[in-house]
Amino acid sequence: MKRALLLLPLAVFLVGAVFLYRGLFLDPSELPSALIGKPVPEFSLPAVEGHKTLTRADLLGKPALLNVWATWCISCRVEHPVLNKLAQQGVRVYGVNYKDENAAALKWLKEFHNPYQLNINDAEGSLGLNLGVYGAPETFLIDSKGIIRHKFVGVIDEVVWREQLAGLYQALVDEAAQ
């Protein structure tokens, strides 16, 4: 009994060491979204292209990626070709043009091709705020009922898509088909 007690400090140290070791490989910039499992917030904002007003109802029906982007966002440029490719493969991508000039956004879409089924012009960042966006690019996975199911912060590249998002998206598609 006494012997076992002598090992206690070692045990405490080991538990602490395991936690600290794990901490070395955590990415502190990755925040869990507070909105997972909640519906996309209500909004009423103009479209980037044309004069239509878009609301939450326009996002319903099919699972999709809701991609927050801007022309001032350098990494969005890296992400854009990947989104183009995904759109070509039939993945639905909706855009939120976050705190941006509409003219610049239109030019960007013309130059780099437009992967977005629809594009919300969130010049004031109000939708972004309600979505808990704190940078761009951020991408939400929403299901056919407009519920946010997953959030990815940062650039979606081929690896991220293949290893993290494709499966989740496919699950939502399957779910919607049932």
């Binding site: 925040l31 869990p32 979204s33 979505l131 808990g132 704190y134």
Partner: protein, 167 residues
């Protein structure tokens, strides 16, 4: 002299940096200004994680300050404003997390560790004092017999040689 001038120039150039996060808001009264200060110090910037939103120059922090100012103007309570932020950015944005089952360890862990350490020290102290003050004084039958033999030997030194007692 030159060094002092350089230091002064550097200092002056930093003044601009230090003031960059100050926006100009017109508050209705002093209490509101104080609440704004309190709230922006208590909420954490989601982008630059080791700064509160009062301190941060990130655009998102400016947006959040603007939002807090707007909500103060609407007469929202501090609690409502903090809840608004937590709903969007998660529990993460609070420098003072709510006391829930998940945060018990965070809130009470240090005090519990201190308490445990203190308790261990007290226990060790009490035990040590016991050994110093009162060593075991009861003798087994064997020991008692030897003691008797020794005592009787002392009374008649010639009867038993001392070295034979030690066996």
């Amino acid at each position: 002299m030159k060094r002092w001038l350089a230091a002064l120039a550097l200092g002056l150039s930093l003044v601009g940096v230090a003031q960059a996060a100050i926006d100009t808001y017109e508050f209705a009264n002093e209490a509101e200004r104080e609440r704004f200060r309190e709230l922006t110090l208590e909420l954490r910037c989601p982008k630059c994680q080791n700064q509160d939103i009062a301190d941060s120059n990130a655009p998102i922090a400016a947006d959040l300050r603007k939002e807090i100012f707007r909500m103060l103007g609407e007469g929202k309570s501090n609690e409502q404003i903090v809840d608004f932020m937590v709903d969007r950015y998660g529990e993460f944005v609070r420098y003072k997390p709510a006391v829930t089952a998940r945060t018990w360890l965070l809130w009470f862990g240090p005090a519990a560790a201190l308490g445990t350490g203190f308790l261990v020290m007290v226990v060790i102290g009490v035990r040590r004092r016991k050994t110093v003050a009162g060593p075991d004084t009861t003798l087994s039958g064997d020991e008692q017999a030897r003691l008797d033999a020794l005592l009787s030997a002392e009374q008649n030194p010639n009867s038993v040689p001392a070295d034979k007692l030690s066996q």
